[in-house]
């Protein structure tokens, strides 16, 4: 517990003063709400099949608020693993982590948990404000919500480890995994609009293949439609997202281990 406490404390005691960090976070939340408002105005008057989908998930505001909050949570969460590695390497503490704790993977996950919790609070505040300002009504199935959240955590940890495996070997530039994740989720995962609006069959197929699309739809079913675990729509999306998590988690752990071996070979953990 003490290790966890220090790992969380070190985030608050980071390079930026706490008040400045809090201010930036508040501005980010307000920006997200602004973008959200803009998008509801743009697509709020939609009709036809798109309108039907929005209605199915409780309306435009409800559809978007879950999409925005969940996507933010996933993105920050998966960045957290790579960020933990980067921060520790830059401070020179990573080599001491590895000397004091043979299970580095566990420690890295513990370290990213703090970031993930912060992202969770951030998403929750955004979510609460959206609900208050736009009058979103929820029909939550707690069990389904818990299962989707747990699967999401596993998937994010898996992808995060894949991304961190590049960071641990000394990559300080753009992380291609995080870049690809951001690109596909922002434009193709149906954060603001249902993927059915993409008339181009190629884009539609790609959007359907993006795992986050299914994560968002599963979460929307769980919190906006009160869908139980045997709901066929929820199940289809949850299965896809779950398979992705099952694939990514061991792959991430393996690549991270391999990245660590490469870092030991290249000397990325030695500070002089």
């Amino acid at each position: 517990m003490y290790v966890q406490w220090i790992l969380i404390k070190r985030i608050f005691a980071g390079h930026s003063p706490l008040r400045f960090t809090a201010l930036m976070t508040a501005i980010n939340i307000l920006m997200a709400i602004g973008v959200f408002y803009y998008m509801t105005v743009v697509v709020g008057t939609s009709s036809g099949s798109r309108a039907q989908i929005y209605r199915f998930y409780g309306g435009v505001a409800a559809f978007m608020s879950v999409g925005v909050s969940m996507n933010a949570l996933l993105t920050v969460g998966l960045n957290a693993v790579a960020k933990a590695i980067n921060d520790e390497r830059n401070q020179g503490t990573l080599s001491y982590w590895i000397m004091c704790q043979p299970r580095l993977l566990k420690l890295v996950l513990q370290a990213s948990l703090g970031e993930f919790l912060l992202a969770g609070v951030n998403a929750l505040v955004t979510f609460a404000l959206l609900v208050a300002l736009f009058g979103v009504h929820f029909h939550v199935n707690l069990l389904s919500f818990a299962v989707v959240a747990a699967v999401s955590l596993l998937a994010v940890v898996g992808v995060g480890l894949v991304a961190a495996s590049l960071n641990i070997t000394g990559n300080t530039g753009q992380n291609p995994i995080l870049w690809a994740w951001g690109l596909t989720t922002n434009f193709m995962a149906g954060v603001f609009v249902p993927i059915e609006v993409f008339d181009n069959p190629f884009i539609h197929t790609v959007s359907s293949a993006v795992p986050v699309t299914h994560a968002l739809l599963a979460m929307r079913s769980a919190v906006l439609r009160d869908a139980p675990l045997d709901d066929p729509i929820l199940d289809a999306h949850l299965l896809y997202w779950g398979l992705f998590a099952v694939l990514m988690l061991p792959l991430g752990a393996w690549l991270f281990r391999r990245g660590l071996d490469r870092a030991l070979m290249r000397g990325n953990l030695v500070q002089s």
Binding site: K9, Q91, M99, C100, S272
Partner: protein, 365 residues
């Protein structure tokens, strides 16, 4: 034959090798007086540079042996490969070739990391905005010290290194010297069988330096096995049971300090010129009293068994040749002199080797 074994036969061999002008890196070995806690056997570390180009060699077949309960000091010029060797011994760097044995068994990087406490002479490695206590307690908790004992243990080690008053201060507010002390405190809190202290006295004020030196002696008295990397020859000559000199990734000399001093069979006259000393060097080489002569750019090292007589001769030649001396010195015999001598010999050999290779290619020297 491996350097690092505390064996008189090995020292004699080293001495012989030195007089014979051979590179001594692979000369000394023999039976071990004490069981080795850590032993590096033929370690190599190479880094790939670019495709099609040869890798950059940082460590080239280094041997090092530290007996249980012994203090081994490693010396070498900057860029000699000390940090790389330390990284490999601490399990933070995988050797390209060779093995590291721990207590007689080949050890993986993981085994080394679990048995080595590392104190680096650098500023990083701590959380700047957390207090020294919190930092130490964090690393203590990582190795599994129970929460109830963490603060007391942290207090103890801070007291040992003389940093108790700064325990509540944020790490970033510490001076460079205090940061060295904090590094040593962390190495002590983790309590491992093998302690590596990389330049523990670098950047310290004289009082703190003395405190740390005293502490190192205390640690030695407790029977802790240590590898101390240092440029401080006085520290090495007093503290070390064994001294190794590393140059260009090779352990070029390794012996007990007293035996290393015996290697000094001659006194060095050191001259640095303002001009090119080639003219004087040609005449100096013909002086019958000089046993060795090493030249590196504008620096000339003359070795003699009769310094009083030969110093006059050397000065006479320099004056004859109308050369301007920037600095001249006849250093007292000591470990520093041994260090300078072995480094100079090594450079001399390398120079000769390069020249030979150059000539073999058909170029005029």
């Amino acid at each position: 034959m491996r350097p690092g074994d505390d064996d008189p036969v090995a020292v004699a061999t080293l001495r012989h090798a030195m007089h014979a002008g051979e590179p001594a890196s692979a000369t000394a070995t023999g039976r071990a007086a004490r069981p080795a806690m850590i032993e590096a056997v033929g370690l190599w570390k190479e880094y790939p540079v670019k495709r099609g180009k040869p890798p950059k060699r940082v460590i080239c077949g280094a041997h090092l042996r530290v007996g249980a309960g012994r203090v081994h000091c490693m010396m070498g010029l900057s860029g000699a490969g000390k940090s790389t060797l330390v990284g490999m011994l601490a399990g933070l760097l995988t050797p390209s070739r060779g093995t590291i044995n721990f207590n007689g068994q080949p050890a993986s990087s993981e085994v080394l990391r679990q048995n080595v406490a590392l104190s680096l002479g650098i500023d990083g490695g701590f959380y700047g905005r957390l207090s020294v206590h919190e930092n130490l307690e964090f690393f203590g908790a990582l190795i599994g010290i129970p929460r109830a004992r963490l603060h007391a243990r942290s207090n103890d080690v801070l007291g040992l290194v003389g940093l108790k008053r700064a325990g509540a201060a944020e790490y970033r507010t510490l001076s460079s010297g205090q940061r060295r002390q904090a590094h040593l405190a962390r190495a002590l809190i983790v309590q491992r069988p093998f302690l590596i202290a990389d330049e523990p006295t670098r950047g310290l004020d004289p009082a703190t330096e003395q405190h740390i030196v005293d502490l190192l002696y205390e640690i030695k008295k407790s029977g802790q096995t240590m590898l101390v990397v240092t440029h401080d020859v006085h520290l090495a000559s007093g503290l070390a049971d064994w001294v190794s000199v590393l140059d260009s990734g090779v352990v070029i000399k390794s012996a007990a300090p007293i035996d290393l001093l015996h290697l000094l069979t001659s006194t060095r006259i050191y001259i640095r010129f303002h001009d090119d000393p080639t003219r004087a060097v040609k005449r100096l080489a013909r002086l019958p009293g000089l046993t060795e002569l090493h030249v590196h750019e504008s620096e000339v090292h003359c070795y003699t068994q009769d310094p009083e007589h030969d110093l006059n001769e050397v000065i006479r030649i320099v004056v004859d040749e109308d050369l301007e001396i920037a600095h001249i010195d006849v250093p007292e015999p000591g470990l520093e002199e041994v260090f300078m001598k072995v480094i100079a010999e090594r450079k001399h050999l390398e120079q000769e080797r390069r020249l030979a290779a150059h000539t073999a290619k058909g170029h005029t020297p």
